[in-house]
């Protein structure tokens, strides 16, 4: 708790970075799936 109190700014910064990273990972996953589906559609 003491660590969190003294480094609150960095904790918030890391949380923001993790949220962005999570969003990007999710978007990358969706992007790959859409790309696969588009390729399947083109080969049909």
């Amino acid at each position: 708790m003491d660590f969190l109190e003294h480094n609150s700014l960095y904790v918030v910064g890391i949380i923001s970075a993790v949220i962005w990273l999570g969003l990007f990972t999710f978007m990358f996953a969706v992007e790959r799936r859409v790309r696969k589906l588009e390729q399947t559609d083109t080969h049909k």
Binding site: G13, W20, L21, M27, V30, V34, L37, D41
Partner: protein, 329 residues
């Protein structure tokens, strides 16, 4: 847009956003000596971060000049600044960001800590916000991107009404969905900010009410587009008309209403001359915001805009695939 299919571009965007978060939280905040005096006298903040340049050493202590050129003595209480903490090589002309406390009896400042020596850049001390002011680099750009997204959505809706190309309808839906997402993110970041600045997550402030109505307006748009039991063309036409009306209300709710009503937000009531002018968009055309913070804000807007365009691109492609499947069935 083909650029969003390049992994290298997306990787660069990811790195740029990580750098943006790093700068937003790592850049020190440095105010002026008058900030330190005012905050101390008002009992708001005993210790204030100040950015100042070391000018000379005299009998009272080290003489500094802050960012506005105001002089101030810093009492070291016998400590030598030259060997303070991990900073060991100060010279005249060095710019320091320090935590200092105002001492009314000596009218000088006591050094509490040295935060940074010769920083590349600093953010200004915004009285009443302190470290919370960093949220300006997330909350404000997200709201701006949300509005740009709604404008893009409306342009596609107009294009659909003119050219009757279904792809414009898909683009309009995707842009509005992206705008909705960014409005939601601006609301969440604003709500967290409100909790620590004003005491509660939600105050029903005019700007909060307007953003809430805006979210309802666009929720209605998505419901209208998906629930109508008409032909595809009629559904798309009704949704396009609604989207244009939604855009007009977005303009009113985001720019007019919060400026004609008294609000906790900066700029509230400025059109009727009762409140402070909005920092960025106001009738006098002046920018009431620090240049460094303003530049970082515009960089954030560009980065978030790319994220929005990526989301829009993926959603449009999903809608194309869905429509193609529906046609096959």
């Amino acid at each position: 847009m083909k650029i969003f299919r390049s992994n290298i571009f997306l990787f660069c965007l990811c790195i740029a956003l990580a750098v943006q978060v790093f700068i937003a939280f790592e850049t020190p905040i440095g105010g002026s000596f008058s900030d330190a005096v005012q905050l101390s006298m008002n009992g708001v903040q005993a210790v204030t971060p100040v950015k100042a340049t070391l000018v000379s050493v005299d009998s009272i202590g080290e003489l500094f000049k802050d960012l506005y050129g105001e002089p101030g003595h810093i009492n070291l209480s016998g400590k030598s600044l030259v060997s303070y903490g991990s900073f060991t090589s100060f010279a005249k002309g060095d710019v320091l960001v320090m935590s200092i406390a105002y001492n009314p009896s000596t009218k000088a400042f006591d050094l509490v800590d040295v935060i940074r020596e010769n920083p590349i850049m600093t953010f200004p001390m915004i009285q009443g916000l302190g470290e919370l002011g960093r949220n300006i680099l997330f909350h404000v750009p997200m709201s701006m991107v949300a509005f740009i997204a709604f404008v893009i959505g409306t342009i596609y809706s107009i294009l659909y009404l003119v050219k009757r190309n279904y792809d414009y309808d898909r683009q309009a839906r995707a842009a509005s969905a992206g705008g909705f997402l960014f409005t939601l993110m601006a609301t969440v970041t604003g709500s967290i900010w409100a909790r620590f600045s004003w005491g509660t997550f939600w105050n029903w402030d005019p700007r909060e009410i307007s953003i809430f109505i805006l979210l309802l307006v666009y929720m209605a748009y998505f419901m209208l587009r998906s629930l109508l039991e008409e032909s595809e063309d009629k559904k798309a036409r009704i949704a396009a008309v609604y989207n244009i009306i939604g855009m007009i209300s977005a303009f009113f709710l985001m720019f007019i209403l919060p400026r004609i009503t008294q609000s906790l937000h900066p700029g509230g009531g400025s059109l009727v001359g009762k409140g402070a002018e909005a920092p960025l968009l106001n009738l006098s055309g002046k920018t009431h915001i620090d240049r460094t913070l303003s530049n970082m804000q515009w960089i954030s807007v560009i980065l978030f805009l790319f994220v929005f365009l990526w989301i829009k691109d993926i959603y449009t492609r999903i809608l194309r695939l869905q429509d193609k499947r529906a046609e096959e069935i």
